[in-house]
C-alpha cells in the first residue's frame, strides 16, 4: 500500500506540471495571436499608452515573450509556478489589485455547499436507481432507469438549469409563495428562482440538484451495468453455494464489488462538477467560484479567469489523486500490483 501511494505521488508531480504548462501554453498562444488581453477591458475606448502599459504590467502580461507567436514562454511559466507553489500562493490579481486567492476564498463556501449537495444527490439517488434497475434486469424499473438516464444525459446542463429555474423556481415557487401556510424557508428559500442571501443553504438545494443531475444519470447507468455484471460473477455463485441469505449475497458480496467503479467515477467526476458549477452558478446567480469565472470572462478580465481556473485545475488534480488512493483502499487487487 505504501509503495503504491509513493508511486502515485511520483506520477502526480509531472502530471501537475504538465497540466499547468498546458494551461499556460494555451493562454500564452491565445495572447500571442490576439494581442494584449488588457485592451478588452477598455472596450471600444482607446486607453492612453501609459495607462495601458501600467495595467498590462500589473496583471502580469508584460513579458515580451507574449509578443512572439508560438513562443512557449518558459521563463514566464517558471515564474508563475514559483508564485503558485510558494508558502504564500499567488494566482494573480484582478483589476482592482485584489488577489485572486482572496476572491476565491470569498466565493468558496457557496461553491463547496453546492458541490456537496450535488454529490449527495447524485450518489444517493444515482446508486439507488442503479441498484434498483440492476437487480431487475429487463424489468419495468430497468427500462425506466435506462430511458430516463439517456434523456437526462442529452439535456445540456444549462438548458436543464434554465427550465428548472423558470418552471420550479419561478412558476411553482409563485404558487407556493401565494399560500400563506407554507413556511418561507420553503416558498422563498428552496423554491426561489436563484440564490438568496437570506436562505444561504435552502436556496442552494435546487441548484445543487441541477448540478448533480447529469452525473446522476451516469452514476445510475454505471451502477446498473456493474451490478448486472457482478451478479453473474463466479464469486457470487460461491456465496450462494455457501448457503448465505440472499440479503447477504447481494448486500455484501455483490454490492461491495459493484460500487468500486461507481465510487471511482463519482470521485473523478468532481472535476466535471466544478466545470458544471460554472454553468449552474451563472444560471442561479450563486456568488461562487463559477460565477466569478463567468463574470470575469464576460468582462474580459482574463487574469482572474486564468488564476481561478489554475486553482480549480489543481483542486481537480488533487481530487483525482485522492480517488486513486481510495481506489486502492477499496480494491486490494490494485494495492498489490
Amino acid at each position: 500500500m505504501g509503495r503504491y501511494v509513493i508511486r502515485r505521488l511520483l506520477q502526480f508531480i509531472p502530471t501537475v506540471l504538465g497540466t499547468m504548462f498546458l494551461l499556460h501554453y494555451i493562454t500564452s498562444l491565445a495572447i500571442q495571436f490576439s494581442g494584449n488581453p488588457v485592451r478588452a477591458i477598455f472596450g471600444d475606448r482607446t486607453p492612453p499608452p501609459a495607462l495601458l502599459a501600467a495595467v498590462t504590467e500589473r496583471l502580469g502580461y508584460g513579458d515580451p515573450c507574449l509578443d512572439q507567436k508560438g513562443n512557449p514562454c518558459f521563463g514566464l511559466f517558471l515564474d508563475r509556478m514559483q508564485k503558485i507553489f510558494s508558502l504564500n500562493p499567488d494566482f494573480g490579481v484582478n483589476l482592482r489589485l485584489r488577489p485572486v486567492t482572496e476572491l476565491v476564498s470569498d466565493a468558496l463556501p457557496y461553491t463547496l455547499k453546492l458541490l456537496v449537495i450535488a454529490i449527495l444527490f447524485q450518489s444517493i439517488v444515482g446508486i439507488a436507481a442503479g441498484v434498483w434497475a440492476g437487480l431487475r434486469s429487463g424489468s419495468f424499473a430497468d427500462n425506466l432507469v435506462k430511458i430516463s438516464t439517456v434523456f437526462l444525459i442529452s439535456v445540456p446542463i444549462f438548458v436543464l438549469g434554465l427550465v428548472v429555474r423558470e418552471f420550479v423556481g419561478v412558476k411553482f415557487g409563485n404558487v407556493l409563495r401565494g399560500q400563506e401556510w407554507i413556511p418561507e424557508v420553503i416558498s422563498r428559500g428552496v423554491f426561489s428562482p436563484g440564490f438568496k442571501p437570506d436562505y444561504p443553504l435552502a436556496s442552494l438545494i435546487i441548484p445543487g440538484m441541477v448540478l448533480g443531475a447529469v452525473s446522476l444519470a451516469t452514476t445510475a447507468r454505471l451502477t446498473r451495468t456493474s451490478i448486472m455484471e457482478n451478479l453473474r460473477a463466479d464469486y457470487v455463485r460461491t456465496a450462494r453455494a455457501k448457503g448465505l441469505a440472499n440479503k447477504r449475497v447481494i448486500g455484501v458480496h455483490t454490492l461491495r464489488n459493484s460500487l468500486i467503479p461507481v465510487i471511482t467515477f463519482i470521485g473523478v467526476d468532481i472535476g466535471s462538477s466544478m466545470a458544471g458549477a460554472v454553468v449552474t452558478e451563472t444560471i442561479f446567480n450563486v456568488p461562487g467560484i463559477g460565477r466569478l469565472v463567468t463574470l470575469a470572462a464576460r468582462t474580459g478580465e482574463s487574469s482572474v479567469v486564468i488564476g481561478v481556473v489554475t486553482m480549480l485545475v489543481l483542486v481537480v488534480l488533487i481530487a483525482n489523486l485522492l480517488v486513486d488512493i481510495l481506489y486502492a483502499v477499496l480494491d486490494p487487487r490494485i494495492r498489490y500490483e
Binding site: L22, T27, S154, V155, P156, V159, T218, P261, N320
Partner: protein, 313 residues
C-alpha cells in the same frame, strides 16, 4: 466537461476500445466475416426504430445546416422591432424574437454553426487523435510512453474550464476557434480508444502472419490493424458529435462562445431566457431543437455500438 464525459460513460462506462468487431483477415478468408459483420450491423440498424428516428432527425438538422433555403424563404436578419415577441402563427410558425426577427428562420440558420463546429472538431479529433492513437498503439515503447503521458495531461484539464480560459483570452470567438479548442482539449478521448484496439489487434495471429510474409509497417497499420479499430471509433465519434453540439451551446450561453449577431441555438436560448414566463416558446423551440439533436446523436451511437459489437448479438 460534464457533457462530453457523461456522454462517453453513458454508453456503458469504458470506451468500447479493444472489443471491436472481427477484423479484416484476407489471409484466412476473414474478409467475408468482416463484410458480413457490417452487413449484419446495417440490417440490424435498419430494423431499429430508435436508430432510424434519430438518423432521420439528424438528417433534418443536417439539411437545415447545409441548405437552410430548403426550409425557409425568410431572411432571419430582416427584423423590425414593432413585431417583437409576436407568438407563433401559420406564416411564422415560431413567432418573432425580441428584435422582431422571424424566429423560425433564425432557428433554421442557427443549425449551421453548431453543426459546422461539431463536424470540424470531430473530424480533427478522428484524424489527429486517431493518428496519434494508432502510432502509440502500433509502435509502443517510448513513442507510446510520450503520447500516453501527453494524453493524460490533456485529459486532466477539465474541458469546460480550459475552453473558457482559451476563449476569454483569445477574444476571437468564431466557429473556427471554438472548434479548435473543442478538438484541442478532447482529442485524447479518441486516441485512447484507437490505441486500445490497436494494441489488442496487433498481436492477433493474422497480423503476425502478415508480418511474417513481409508486409511493411504502413500496410500492416492501414490494411490489417486499423479496420479493427474503426467500429469503436465510429461509435464514439457519433456520440462526440452530439456532445460537441451541446458544448458549443453551453460556451455560447456562458458568453465565451459565439456572439450576436451570429445565429445559433445557444444564442437564441441565452438571449431569450428572461422572457420565459411571458413567451415560453422563445426558449422552448431552440431548447427542443438542441436537446433533440444531442439525444439523436447519443441514441445513434448507442444503437451503432449494439449493432457493431458481436458481444451483444
Amino acid at each position: 466537461m460534464s457533457d462530453l464525459t457523461s456522454a462517453g460513460t453513458a454508453i456503458g462506462g469504458a470506451p468500447v476500445g479493444g472489443d471491436g468487431p472481427a477484423p479484416e483477415t484476407p489471409e484466412t478468408g476473414g474478409k467475408d466475416h468482416n463484410a458480413s459483420l457490417w452487413a449484419d450491423a446495417r440490417r440490424q440498424l435498419v430494423r431499429d426504430p430508435v436508430f432510424m428516428l434519430s438518423f432521420l432527425y439528424v438528417l433534418v438538422v443536417g439539411s437545415m445546416a447545409a441548405f437552410p433555403s430548403l426550409w425557409t424563404s425568410q431572411d432571419p436578419r430582416a427584423c423590425s422591432t414593432d413585431r417583437s415577441r409576436i407568438p407563433p402563427s401559420g406564416d411564422h410558425p415560431f413567432g418573432f424574437d425580441i428584435l422582431g426577427c422571424d424566429y423560425y428562420s433564425h432557428a433554421i440558420y442557427g443549425a449551421r454553426p453548431s453543426m459546422i463546429i461539431a463536424i470540424m472538431a470531430t473530424g480533427a479529433m478522428v484524424l489527429i487523435g486517431g493518428g496519434l492513437g494508432l502510432l502509440a498503439g502500433y509502435y509502443g515503447g517510448w513513442v507510446d510512453t510520450i503520447i500516453s503521458r501527453v494524453m493524460d495531461i490533456f485529459l486532466s484539464l477539465p474541458f469546460l474550464l480550459g475552453a473558457i480560459v482559451f476563449l476569454t483570452v483569445i477574444k476571437r470567438q468564431n466557429p473556427y476557434t471554438i472548434a479548435m479548442v473543442l478538438f484541442l482539449l478532447t482529442w485524447p478521448v479518441i486516441a485512447r480508444i484507437i490505441r486500445g484496439s490497436v494494441i489488442s489487434g496487433k498481436d492477433l495471429d493474422y497480423v503476425q502472419a502478415a508480418r511474417a510474409v513481409g508486409a511493411g509497417n504502413g500496410r500492416l497499420m492501414f490494411r490489417h490493424i486499423l479496420p479493427n479499430a474503426i467500429a469503436p471509433m465510429l461509435v464514439y465519434a457519433t456520440i462526440v458529435l452530439g456532445a460537441f453540439v451541446a458544448a458549443e451551446a453551453t460556451l455560447t450561453f456562458l458568453g465565451v462562445g459565439l456572439q450576436p449577431p451570429a445565429q445559433s441555438w445557444g444564442i437564441m436560448i441565452s438571449v431569450h431566457q428572461v422572457y420565459f414566463l411571458e413567451d415560453p416558446w422563445l426558449l422552448l423551440f431552440p431548447c427542443g431543437l438542441l436537446v433533440g439533436t444531442v439525444l439523436s446523436f447519443i441514441l445513434m451511437g448507442d444503437a451503432l455500438r449494439d449493432a457493431l459489437d458481436p458481444k451483444f448479438r
